[in-house]
């Protein structure tokens, strides 16, 4: 039976994000969580494979304890079990540490897995790095930004658009794909699914020690990249207001910003006058 692992991230619902107008920053702790859209597509791809050829789906997520919600959602949609990686020590992980943590957890909780599916990127940080890095960590063939997947026997055939090329690729299992939102649409939770998610849900929770992670290689501590500062690009933006007759406004615009406009279009816009 095909053993599939779907990596899922809980992300803040961006449209609902409360802002602190004074600082121009997000109040993340107040945000509602949801399943990252591309992760939903990855889950949908796995469910379709399961529906046609059979298989078993493990949904795995790393996050605070509340991230268990997305595992329940995945089970409601048809995943067989969930693995929650949660440990305060895992907080603040960059993509390389995240993929390291996920890889070790997948090996621990899903030995003998065949296919790992991830969303191609997340709506909160949008790096798209975890999937390719997971391929490296697990040392299995992998393809990113996949639109469609087909499994036949031990071979996986994938289609994607990559830099204006329509590509068809193939690899043998075990392998990993990251899935775009292009082809696989999110589905609704069936009524029976809700019962599965809450009555008999099979969810295991693992911390760093249970996974057997090197404490030097997790969370913010193990991360190579550090966030030094966060700011809103629009906060503190000077909003210059120009009014008057159109011709005069345009003259003013060039007097003040001819360098800026000229720089962007690669032309010298200065007149002899200035």
């Amino acid at each position: 039976m095909l053993k599939m692992v779907v990596c899922i991230k809980q992300v803040p619902m961006v449209s609902e994000l409360p802002w602190d107008p004074a600082t121009g920053t997000l109040q993340r702790d107040l945000a509602e969580g949801m399943m990252n859209p591309a992760c939903r597509s990855a889950l949908d791809a796995a469910l379709r494979i399961k529906e046609t050829g059979g298989g078993e789906i493990t949904a795995i997520t790393m996050g605070p304890p509340m991230a268990e919600e997305v595992l329940r959602e995945a089970i409601a949609l048809g995943a067989d079990r969930g693995v929650l990686l949660t440990d305060p020590k895992m907080a603040g992980a960059d993509t390389s540490v995240t993929s390291h943590t996920l890889a070790r957890a997948i090996e621990k909780a899903c030995p003998g897995f065949d296919l790992v599916l991830c969303g191609c990127s997340t709506s909160d940080s949008e790096t798209g790095q975890v999937g390719p890095q997971l391929a490296e960590e697990l040392d299995i063939p992998g393809v990113a930004y996949v639109d469609e997947i087909e499994v036949s026997g031990r071979a996986v055939r994938m289609r994607r658009i990559s830099d204006h090329f329509l590509e068809t690729l193939e690899m043998d299992l075990p392998g990993i794909v990251t899935v775009t939102t292009g082809h696989y649409a999110p589905r609704h939770v069936p009524l029976g699914g809700l019962q599965a998610a809450f009555a008999e849900a099979h969810i295991v929770s693992l911390d760093a020690a249970a996974v057997g992670l090197d404490p030097e290689w997790i969370g913010a501590k193990g991360s190579a990249t550090k966030i030094r500062n966060v700011y809103s690009p629009t906060a503190g933006k000077k909003n210059i207001v120009l009014t008057g007759a159109p011709k005069r406004i345009v003259e003013q615009l060039f007097e003040r910003f001819d360098d800026k406009i000229g720089g962007a279009i690669g032309k010298d816009l200065k007149t002899d006058k200035n």
Partner: protein, 332 residues
């Protein structure tokens, strides 16, 4: 022995027009950064029969080219390119590696970073060198609503990907010379575990609007289809592309291709001219990465006007016409 000079590497991504352009743009920024840490700028090129690009990269500022030219590299290959980059970086120990955030680069860079055990920042919108000589990587977060300044303080190389159009290339100069270091293909190169079955040029339109340095965007406030059409003349003068809002596309003033918004294109120009656009969230979110916004609207309280760097309170169509006249006068 003289210590090896520090180096900033740019991955030579040449497969199509925008990949070629982003490489040139990165070389340009790398040159500016190199001055601050006294480093040399190198391009790394894998392929077969790629002398044209080698020459191009030198003309655009690369002082050194690491080149592996072999028939096995004629087609882009993720596993092989990753292996070659890892080996070369381990040997030469560059301070910084910059990769264009093309579809290939977005998959390639994270793999290389993991192999080298270092950090990587995605889609940087700015790169600077700080007082300690560290690369400060400015990355957008939450759909561009926030910018994070990220550093890789201890591990090396410091790595970042950058989207096409973020930096401006320097003009080519074919008098420039550079050193070409030929790196042979390693013996016993493993076969890629991912097989390319078929690859064809996508019929998809070039991403002109998404990559344009100047975008002229129009909304219903322009008044009519005829007035909207004037934007094309303005865009032509500015060497830019025309974008539109949803109501304008619905009214058939513009093609769906021109739609800038949640269901359309995301843009990131150096300058965005916004004419008669009130600024629905679906539209403004797609404009978040615009570096400088000049908005024109009769209503000074329109959301787009509040977000703009320059808000012009006037009739959008009249300003468009005046701009065309003034630009014709100034561009000689």
């Amino acid at each position: 022995m003289i210590a090896k000079k520090r180096a900033i590497w740019v991955f030579g991504d040449y497969r199509n027009y925008f990949q070629n352009r982003v490489t040139l743009q990165l070389l340009s920024r790398a040159k500016e950064l190199a001055v601050k840490i006294d480093a040399e700028v190198c391009a790394v090129v894998f392929g077969h029969g790629v002398d044209e690009w080698v020459g191009e990269y030198i003309a655009h500022g690369a002082e050194k080219i690491y080149l592996t030219d072999h028939s096995r590299l004629a087609v882009y290959s993720m596993e092989t390119y990753t292996l070659l980059m890892e080996r070369l970086a381990r040997q030469e120990k560059p301070e910084i590696i910059l990769v264009g955030a093309t579809a290939f680069g977005r998959e390639f860079a994270p793999r290389v970073a993991t192999r080298l055990g270092t950090g990587l920042t995605a889609d940087c919108i700015g790169l600077e060198i700080d007082k300690e000589g560290l690369l400060v990587q400015m990355a957008p977060s939450f759909g561009g609503n926030l910018v994070a300044e990220i550093v890789t303080s201890e591990r090396r190389p410091q790595m970042a990907t950058v989207r096409p159009g973020t930096f401006q290339e320097i003009p080519h100069d074919y008098i420039r010379t550079g050193e070409v270091v030929k790196i042979p293909l390693p013996e016993h190169l493993p076969v890629d575990r991912v097989r390319l079955v078929r690859s064809e040029r996508s019929p998809q339109r070039e991403q002109k609007l998404e990559e344009a340095r100047v975008v002229v965007c129009g909304g219903r406030g322009l008044g009519s289809k005829k007035k909207f059409a004037k934007l094309f003349e303005l865009a032509e003068l500015l060497g830019g592309e025309v974008g539109a809002t949803r109501p304008v596309v619905y009214a058939d003033w513009a093609e769906h291709e021109a739609l800038v918004g949640q269901a359309g294109k995301q843009i990131r120009p150096q300058i965005l001219f916004s004419f008669g656009i009130s600024g629905a969230i679906q539209h403004t979110a797609a404009c978040n990465d615009a570096k400088f916004i000049i908005a024109v609207n009769k209503n000074p309280d329109a959301a787009m006007m509040k977000r703009a760097d320059v808000a012009i309170v006037a009739d959008a169509s009249q300003i468009c016409n005046s701009l065309i006249q003034e630009l014709k006068r100034r561009i000689r």
